[in-house]
């Protein structure tokens, strides 16, 4: 095929600095420079020279800063290698918005194109040509991710999508009735179903009962519906739990009647809040906002895809959770992101086979998160980044989304005869088997298999934005009876769920495809992004079509709600799936799992007083520079946190806009009055390594502390649970998961808090070629959303004015398990912080003081304890603090001054109060451990005996990681 090859070159040439730097880090030091050129490939049988000239001039280049050249080429021409060039293109079928935009822009200019593709050309500048193996290394490790891209050492032909070949109506049938157990297991492995023998046995019984073979689409649909990802079978399983003490004695046995039911939902039922609109039923939890609106909140994980293709994985993670919120008929108003990575300075030779370096993972994930939220126009306002060596092979990407909707606008009532409408993106081969893929361990081979490449996708936030406009307008016009998003499992899961009470018939010929050649089961299971499914009564179809046309959104009527109680899927009239809904949604055989908990082997910890020459100032500077504490400003500022105009407390605050806010406060545009919401989170895997139960207590406590600190009402506070764990079939992994779930119950009931939604991602475990297993540290994220009664009374953490008094709220105990003190110098003790006695009472008292305008600044104490919190408050306010540790309320077991400074006990805040309001503040907190312990000073020093340091030294230490982390910086 003849095509035009167009090269766009920046003028003057720009060095790809960060790529060159990465090349040097992987050891390709002979590379002096890299020059990047954009490539475009366009084709049409009638394309003329003038057409290509016009495209180059009007569409593809900016004459002020770029030069453009082009020439005709033909795909039949042989390609030459070049020793100074690498070209990279996305694989055919992977979303390429730019290529599609080239076609649309050309159309606007009256130029038809049959094909378009894009790529990158990198010119390698080196004194002598790099060796071929070095160039391959450069391409694989720096320039190209072969999961979604391909490269060539030299000029390449375009990656146009080829013509379909073969019979696309092919349906494979499997005679399960005739298989023995071994045969079933072999079939399960061959089709990558991730089903166990009990589950396959249910299918065999079904097949025998029906007296027929099952189709590929049926097997795949059941596998997706029953996957860990969609069905949460571990969280529903009956668990036999055994607990041992330090001496190895069995001290407790218990049968858990489902983690979700016994610990999470039970906590919600125990507190019976009348402002909960929906918990654990819809795609997102929903609570009342005011008389007119409700807010919804959901957090998801997208770990496995982000490990292999960080940008696409994180990108579609955000896109997916935003769709969850659109799926409860809400407008997305905020995105949160909590990211867990391996150490950024990990030596390259310590990288496990088949994994990407943590720096590359972080860069891609951060760009992917920002790309989706920024383009959707949803502010990313809260989050954190956690570093731990356990995340090297399995990074975690938690994405959350908050939505706003008028009361009673979300309907979930499909009718018989309703048409099933799919709108948004077209369906392609992308994302096949994503749900079962995420239910398996990652291995050294994962990135090389074709499973991975179809399970990973690139999102298109602009399509989702258009879909959102259609949905919100359709909601306001009352055009649908039910709505759901298309996520894991694709149409099979979305329609299967939406029609679970009725039954449905879908004709796959009516599903719009990105390209020809998809088999029926692939259409039914595809997880192509940016699709929503509506149940629409026939008389309203035209109105839906008009809306779609107005916003330029593709829509297909693919079937209808039948009332037969069966899921019938046909392809050109031939049945491809014919399953009873009961089998899909009630037929799963409950799993019975074994769990055991043994305390970690004796942790060697020295008492603080036994460590010679501990210098408090030195410790504080080290802790401030610890990546888990240090500023991550570069990452946060790559997200738009201002769009929608409602961000009242921003991620950064203080005199120089660089102090770390405890939580975000939003006042949603379009609401009346000054009511708002606070968003915060709690997470600490270092605690969980010693005691997952205590980790859960601390995560809930931290999330509560954060939102209360900015003005959130502890009596209008809902939380989400997100568990990321290793393989739950291994009893020790499951045992620690049980402990964490028990901690969730204990903390939520202590604070009288409801969980309104949750998510689990298991099998975050790397299996090396030699079979060695490397699980992540069990990681629990608690996300909190609280109502702020009046956003103009919100409080930030920066010290405000010299002469104001500093109070500490809460008791300091001798708790160092998992603390920075323990991580850095192995000192303290192995006691992980537990719940403070004050419970919700102290939070309520503090909230009353905040709404009574008695508080000028408030900052919670977490990693690094009092010293780090005080330092952050001073840095943010550009003011000094003088605090007397002797005045801090402590428990009986605290004896050493450093214990007061660095203990990480829960339930504590530093509060700044104007002297004239001291009496009123003390009265508001009376009955709780609280003490005036210091004051804000003009001096520009942190005086926290024995620490006495100037603020700028603290600031420099706190900023160091950020400077190194910013593109162009080095670690």
């Amino acid at each position: 095929m003849r095509y035009a090859r167009i090269e766009v070159t920046p003028d003057p040439l720009v060095s790809a600095t960060s790529l060159r730097q990465t090349a040097h880090e992987v050891g390709i030091t002979a590379l002096d420079d890299l020059h990047h050129h954009k490539l475009f490939f366009v084709a049409h049988p009638d394309l003329s020279d003038d057409d290509v000239d016009t495209l180059c001039r009007e569409v593809l280049s900016d004459p002020v800063i770029e030069t453009v050249t082009w020439r005709w080429r033909d795909t039949a021409e042989a390609l030459r290698d070049a020793d100074d060039r690498v070209e990279v293109q996305v694989l055919p079928g992977v979303t390429d918005r730019t290529a599609a935009e080239v076609r649309r822009a050309a159309e606007q200019l009256g130029i038809d194109l049959t094909h378009s593709a894009t790529g990158h050309r990198y010119d390698l500048v080196s004194p002598t040509p790099l060796h071929e193996t070095t160039r391959h290394e450069l391409a694989k490790r720096v320039l190209c991710n072969e999961v979604v891209e391909r490269y060539r050492l030299g000029e390449d032909h375009p990656a146009f999508i080829g013509e379909a070949d073969g019979d696309t109506s092919l349906v494979e049938r499997f005679d399960l009735a005739g298989l023995d157990d071994d045969g079933l297991v072999a079939l399960g492995q061959e089709r990558q179903l991730a089903l166990n023998i009990d589950e396959l046995g249910v299918l065999r019984d079904f097949a025998r009962h029906q007296g027929r073979a099952l189709t590929d689409a049926e097997l795949e649909m059941v596998a997706q519906t029953w996957s860990e990802h969609c069905y949460h079978k571990t969280f529903r399983a009956e668990i036999s739990y055994r607990e041992y003490d330090d001496a190895g004695e069995l001290v407790r046995t218990e049968t858990v009647d489902g983690l979700l039911k016994q610990y999470i939902r039970a906590a919600t039922e125990a507190c019976s809040k009348d402002w909960i609109v929906s918990a654990f039923v819809d795609n997102a939890g929903i609570i009342e906002f005011d008389d007119e609106f409700v807010v919804s909140f959901k957090a998801e994980t997208h770990n496995h895809p982000s490990a292999l293709e960080p940008f696409g994985g994180a990108n579609t993670g955000v896109g997916g959770v935003i769709r969850d919120v659109i799926g409860v008929s809400a407008k997305p108003i905020a995105v949160t992101d909590v990211l867990c990575f391996g150490p950024q300075d990990l030596p390259f030779d310590a990288l496990p086979e088949g994994t990407l370096h943590p720096r590359r993972v972080q860069a891609g994930v951060v760009a992917g998160v920002g790309d989706y939220g920024n383009k959707m126009g949803v502010p990313t306002v809260n989050g954190t980044v956690v570093y731990h060596p356990g995340y090297v092979a399995n990074p975690l990407v938690y994405c959350g989304c908050v939505g706003l909707a008028p009361k009673n606008s979300h309907v979930t009532n499909p009718h018989i005869g309703d048409r099933i409408v799919v709108l948004g993106g077209l369906t392609g081969r992308d994302g096949l088997r994503g749900a079962t893929f995420s239910s398996r361990d990652l291995g050294s081979e994962s990135s090389g298999t074709d499973i991975a490449s179809t399970a990973v996708q690139i999102g298109d936030p602009i399509v989702e934005k258009d879909v959102m406009e259609v949905i919100l307008a359709a909601r306001d016009q009352g055009l649908y009876n039910a709505i759901t998003d298309c996520g894991a499992g694709g149409l099979s899961s979305a329609i299967g769920e939406m029609a679970s009470g009725l039954g449905a018939h879908v004709e796959l010929h009516n599903v719009g495809l990105k390209y020809a050649g998809l088999l029926p089961w692939e259409i039914w299971l595809s997880e192509a992004q940016e699709r929503m499914v509506l149940s629409v009564s026939p008389d309203k179809l035209d109105q839906v079509r008009v809306l779609c046309e107005h916003y330029g959104v593709h829509c297909d009527v693919v079937g209808e709600m039948t009332g037969t109680g069966r899921m019938l899927v046909t392809y050109g009239g031939d049945p491809v799936v014919d399953l009873p809904m009961d089998l899909l949604h009630e037929g799963h055989p409950r799993m019975r799992l074994e769990a055991e908990w043994r305390p970690p082997r004796e942790v060697s910890v020295k008492q603080v007083e036994d460590v010679p020459d501990l210098d408090a100032s030195d410790l504080l500077l080290r802790f401030l520079a610890d990546p888990n504490v240090a500023s991550k400003e570069y990452i946060v500022r790559s997200y738009d946190h201002e769009v929608q105009g409602g961000t009242v407390v921003k991620p950064f605050t203080g005199a120089h806009n660089h102090g770390p806010s405890d939580a975000a406060v939003l006042r949603p545009l379009g609401t009346k009055g000054l009511r708002g919401i606070a968003l915060g989170n709690g997470i600490n895997p270092h605690y969980g390594e010693l005691d997952p139960y205590a980790m859960a207590l601390s995560a809930v406590d931290e999330a509560v502390r954060n939102v209360v600190a900015v003005g959130g009402d502890p009596d209008r506070l809902a939380i989400l649970d997100n568990f990321c764990w290793g393989n739950p079939r291994l009893p020790d992994r499951l045992g620690s998961l049980v402990r964490a779930a028990q901690g969730c119950w204990a903390a939520a009931t202590a604070f009288d808090l409801p969980f309104i939604s949750g998510k689990d991602s298991l099998n975050n475990e790397y299996v090396a070629a030699d079979g060695t297993r490397r699980p992540i540290p069990g990681t629990l994220l608690i996300s909190a959303l609280a109502i702020v009664p009046d956003v103009t009374l919100a409080v930030t953490m920066d010290a405000k004015a010299a002469g104001n008094l500093i109070y500490i709220v809460g008791e300091t105990k001798n708790e160092f398990g998992g603390s920075l003190m323990m991580q850095h110098i192995g000192a303290g003790n192995a006691v992980v912080p537990g719940l403070a006695e004050g419970g919700v009472g102290v939070a309520r008292a503090l909230h009353r003081a905040i709404t009574g305008q008695l508080v000028r600044a408030c900052h919670d104490l977490s990693e690094g304890g009092l010293a780090v919190a005080a330092a952050e408050m001073a840095i943010a306010g550009a003011l000094g603090l003088r605090i007397d540790p002797g005045k801090v309320p402590v428990s009986d077991d605290v004896s050493h001054p450093l214990e007061i400074l660095f203990s990480e006990s829960n339930g504590r805040w530093l509060v700044e109060v104007a002297p004239e309001q001291a009496g009123a503040f003390e009265a508001a907190l009376s009955g709780y451990p609280v003490a005036q312990c210091g004051e804000v000073t003009e001096g520009g020093r942190l005086e926290l005996s024995p620490i006495d340091l100037p603020i700028d030294r603290l600031d420099t230490a706190w900023q160091r990681f950020n400077r190194l982390n910013t593109p162009g910086g080095t670690l």
């Binding site: 080239v102 649309r104 822009a105 936030p461 046309e549 330029g552």
Partner: protein, 256 residues
């Protein structure tokens, strides 16, 4: 007369609601109008006295920021749009809207100057960034939105392609707003006060007549005091609202 403001919406535009809110608070009657409606009936532009091309990522900015929106603005209803501008009605392009205006020929004096041209491209820092900046109006510019501003504006930027690059010096009268240090000093403004490396610290430019303004920062995100990043420290003022009020006043004075 209450002027009517058309807030242009297109695929990927996402700051339309804030722009509408700002216009409303400034005394106009805003309508968010999707480009498909305008394409079907370009004459509807005649019903409006003020046009705002709001920010976002039109069509994903896949071909360069604002590029395809610019093709549309100069294509299907380019004539209607140019007569809107030629009649002296105010047009405000913010962020992506600015990128589209400059690439569509609605800011001709800046886009094509004597020795070459100007464009908006990738930030000097090489990546998207969101931060608050201070803008100082240029008294010698004829821009109807900024010429009467009494104080600087504090407001956020949120862009990856906001660096104004030019092959020649841009004439002072086309410069409506400049990035400045928070103490409003214009001398030697560096990153992050000039957040993207724009030439001559330019944040916003206007046409010869002063009725078309394009700027990268978002004055529509600083309409009330609690949006300011340091409101809890008692800092305030420097709202973006007066810029909209000036535009609305000017539009009201034009009559129909």
């Amino acid at each position: 007369m209450t002027p009517r403001a058309l807030i242009l919406h297109a695929s990927g535009i996402n700051r339309d609601h804030e722009a509408a809110w700002a216009c409303e608070r400034a005394g106009a009657r805003p309508d968010i109008v999707h480009i498909s409606a305008l394409r079907n009936d370009p004459r509807m532009l005649g019903d409006y006295q003020l046009l705002v091309v709001a920010g976002g990522f039109s069509y994903g900015d896949a071909l360069g920021a604002g590029k395809r929106l610019a093709l549309e603005l100069s294509g299907s209803f380019g004539d209607a749009l140019h007569s809107f501008a030629d009649e002296g009605r105010p047009i405000l392009g913010i962020c992506n809207g600015f990128q589209a205006l400059i690439k569509s020929g609605l800011l001709p004096e800046v886009q094509r100057n004597l020795t070459g041209g100007a464009t908006l491209t990738h930030n000097a820092g090489g990546h998207f960034e969101c931060r608050w900046v201070t803008l100082v109006p240029n008294e010698s510019s004829p821009c109807v939105f900024t010429r009467e501003l009494a104080e600087p504006i504090d407001c956020p930027i949120a862009h990856g392609e906001g660096r104004l690059a030019s092959t020649a010096e841009i004439d002072d009268r086309y410069i409506a707003l400049r990035y400045a240090d928070p103490d409003r000093s214009l001398n030697d403004t560096k990153y992050p006060a000039n957040p993207n490396g724009s030439v001559q610290n330019i944040a916003g430019v206007c046409n010869e007549r002063g009725n078309v303004l394009g700027l990268m920062p978002h004055p529509e995100d600083h309409i009330v005091p609690w949006q300011h990043p340091r409101w809890t420290r008692g800092e305030g003022g420097r709202l973006g609202l007066p810029l909209f009020e000036a535009g609305v006043r000017y539009a009201a004075g034009l009559g129909r």
